[in-house]
């Protein structure tokens, strides 16, 4: 029995040391920090997603300051009476009437910055209300507000007698609403993220094959390591494209067979669906290459399956942080978080795809794709450097290399002066 325990302890000691005495374990150990990052990122993302569409919805009343005051005095009471505190239709904004109030009403209803659900104009006893499809409730609320305003001013009137006769009409929306744009952006982020997490994560164990069968020695002697890394990524991307083409084809087939493709109709990017699909494809390629390069670089440091498994956790958590950040960007276009997510290289493809749904400008995408391509190169170069240093035991460490680069620059600047 004692022998059995002793033997068991010998094996336990080896296994313990094999795990703990590796740099990979440090990453595993620090994984909770990444979890914290995820919590923060997903919290921000969730908050933006929750309040984003709500904040962007609005009703507008075109009225003189006097009428606006009269209506405003009744709005809260009516809202509270009908829906309780915090509930009911979106907030009401009042704007002063322009000479052509009719044109103003149409224009306001098509406002791009917000989802304007209904616009009321004209005298309170005979208002004209326009609403977009599916938002008749908001129009009815405005009509009731006009009625209640007059009724509060003319106390003692019979409840059966109507004081305000509203003319309500529905307007066919030509431009996508803000919330549909945001939903499109969020949808693109989710689809891209799912594809990336499923396909790019495979890069983690790719170089392990070459290391285990010693082919890496042949590769390292024949071609630059950067080429090896790049080739691996391209190969994996090819596999990913086959996957996407297969499932994309199936989905397209399904949508064409279905009588009403309501799902597709809800995708309403501001730049148009064809261009948005092209952009999303480009950004998927960039997301795949960027995250794939990280996974490849980190995974290349692992020498056993055990290490690869340990690396999977922090890598997955990192992906989730990028996802949370990108969802936050999709939920709050133009915000500081969105700008950060668009610039930060590893969330940039997702965040920029989301931007494509809400921002019609094309030039930011050209800049972003260039920026992301630059970071693909940088990430590959760093991955290859770490591999050369950590696995092949050649060259200088990353900090020393950085010091040398800075020293070179300093010397060349000094010489210039």
């Amino acid at each position: 029995m004692r022998q059995l325990i002793q033997n068991g302890l010998v094996i336990a000691r080896r296994d313990f040391m094999a795990v703990v005495a590796t740099p990979t374990f440090l990453l595993f150990l620090l994984a909770p920090f990444l979890m914290l990052g995820i919590s923060i990122a997903s919290g921000i993302g969730g908050a933006y997603l929750a309040k984003g569409p709500q904040e962007s919805r609005q009703m507008i009343i075109i009225a003189s300051p006097t009428d606006a005051k009269r209506l405003g005095a009744q709005e809260n009471a009516l809202r509270k009476r009908l829906y309780g505190p915090g509930g009911g239709p979106p907030a009401v904004r009042t704007v002063a009437p322009e000479p052509d109030a009719n044109a103003q009403q149409v224009r306001l209803l098509a406002e791009k910055e917000r989802d304007v659900t209904a616009v009321m104009r004209g005298p309170i006893d005979q208002p004209t209300i326009m609403h977009i499809a599916g938002e008749a409730r908001d129009a009815r609320f405005l009509a009731l507000l006009a009625e209640e305003t007059l009724r509060s001013e003319k106390l003692g009137q019979s409840p059966e007698m109507r004081l305000s006769r509203a003319e309500i009409s529905e307007v066919r929306q030509t431009m996508p609403t803000r919330s549909r744009q945001q939903n499109t952006g969020s949808g693109a982020v989710v689809v891209m993220f799912m594809l990336t997490i499923m396909l790019a994560s495979q890069a983690v164990g790719t170089l392990a094959e070459e290391k285990s069968n010693k082919v890496i020695e042949i590769l390292a002697a024949s071609v630059p390591l950067e080429s090896v890394f790049f080739g691996k990524l391209i190969g994996l991307f090819g596999i990913a494209l086959v996957f996407v083409a297969f499932w994309g084809g199936l989905v397209a087939l399904g949508l064409s067979i279905l009588p009403a493709s309501a799902g597709l109709a809800s995708f309403a990017p501001v730049i148009g669906l064809p261009l948005f699909v092209i952009l999303a494809g480009c950004y998927f390629a960039m997301a795949f290459m960027l995250l794939g390069a990280i996974f490849l670089g980190v995974g290349a440091q692992a020498s056993t399956m055990r290490e690869i498994q340990m690396l999977s956790l922090p890598i997955t958590l990192f992906q989730l942080i990028m996802f949370g950040l990108s969802m936050a960007a999709a939920g709050s276009p133009g915000s500081g978080v969105a700008r950060f997510a668009e610039i930060f290289p590893f969330s940039s493809p997702f965040a920029m795809a989301a931007r494509g749904a809400t921002d019609p400008a094309i030039w930011p995408h050209v800049v972003a794709l260039g920026w992301q391509l630059l970071w693909v190169s940088i990430t590959i170069a760093i991955g290859a450097h770490f591999f050369r240093y950590g696995v092949l035991k050649s060259g200088v460490g990353p900090f020393k290399a950085l010091g040398q680069i800075l020293a070179k620059r300093w010397v060349s600047k000094t010489n210039l002066h």
Partner: protein, 310 residues
């Protein structure tokens, strides 16, 4: 043109450390064009590290290197063939594809690579295995496939790290012939080994590395000449009195005496033995082999290092 530009492989003062352990401590090499050059040394001498530095797989901490006249070995990788010490092939690849793949890595067109692979496999007697996956080949066969892969793009310089290890005697002879044939076609061959027989048979020049330094550089004959000739002598009679006439290092095994031939030659000694009436029942004078020279050189290094350690 300077020597370093002229030589296919030239290195000066290469130093490489792994952590606190210095694997190579200032190795210099100069391999003549069209020669077979051996890098000999015991296990852990720094042979593989030296070859990997020369090929640019790893960079030296100090020192200079030139491969086919280029300071950056990467620039001439398409003219170099390399068989690493640890053999590596993709197990799921077919033999023919594996060879073509290795050619493609060195810039050879895939279709041309496949064509050459078929020819090379046929010539090596492995034509029947061209479409077999690597995992189905024996270790020796897979090694041969890898060797063919490293030669498929007809390189000007062939670097082989312990090429004979793992091969049976028949394949070892086949490999020797292959190396000689490549040399005859104008290629320069640099190979490492710790098996002296191969080096003695095929090397034009060699370096003996021990303890991370080059301890000898020259031809095989020059290496052997570092040791004096040895004689084996069998007297006809008076065996008990022979000892007094022989050199001090003489030792007896049965009727045979073995000793180092004196510096002036064996003639005088032979005359003395005949005059003394011992006669000559048998006499042979042998040059020591490369193996002996290697053992002496490496042994001296080991002794020095042991002294240094104490």
């Amino acid at each position: 043109m300077s020597v370093e530009d002229d030589r296919p492989v030239w290195a000066s003062g290469l130093v490489k450390s792994f952590g606190k352990s210095q694997a190579v401590r200032g190795v210099s090499l100069s391999v003549p064009q069209g020669s077979i050059y051996g890098v000999l040394g015991p296990n852990g001498a720094g042979k593989t590290t030296t070859l990997r530095m020369l090929l640019g797989i790893i960079d030296p901490d100090k020192g200079e290197r030139r491969l086919l006249g280029e300071a950056n070995p990467r620039n001439v990788s398409h003219r170099v063939g390399y068989l690493p010490e640890e053999r590596g092939l993709y197990p799921s690849m077919k033999a023919r594809e594996a060879i073509a793949f290795m050619g493609a890595l060195r810039g050879l067109d895939w279709s041309e690579g496949r064509k050459r692979a078929d020819e090379a496999l046929e010539a090596a007697g492995l034509g029947y295995a061209a479409h077999n996956k690597i995992r189905k080949l024996s270790k020796g066969m897979a090694q041969l496939v890898q060797l063919l892969g490293s030669l498929i793009h007809k390189p000007d310089l062939i670097v082989l790290d312990e090429p004979f290890s793992g091969l049976d005697p028949v394949n070892q002879e086949l490999l020797e012939k292959l190396i000689l044939a490549e040399r005859d076609h104008g290629a320069t061959i640099l190979f490492s080994t710790h098996v002296m027989g191969h080096a003695q048979r095929i090397c034009d020049r060699l370096s003996i590395i021990a303890g991370g330094k080059v301890r000898f550089e020259g031809t095989v004959d020059e290496a052997r000449a570092t040791l004096p000739m040895r004689a084996q002598y069998v007297p006809c009679s008076g065996e008990d009195k022979v000892r007094a006439l022989l050199p001090s290092d003489a030792g007896q095994s049965g009727k045979v005496w073995r000793f180092t031939v004196p510096e002036g030659g064996a003639e005088r000694l032979v005359m003395d033995l005949v005059k003394a009436g011992h006669g000559i029942a048998g006499l042979s004078i042998e040059r020591p082999g490369l193996h002996d020279a290697f053992v002496k050189i490496v042994g001296a290094v080991n002794a020095d290092e042991a002294d240094g350690a104490t």
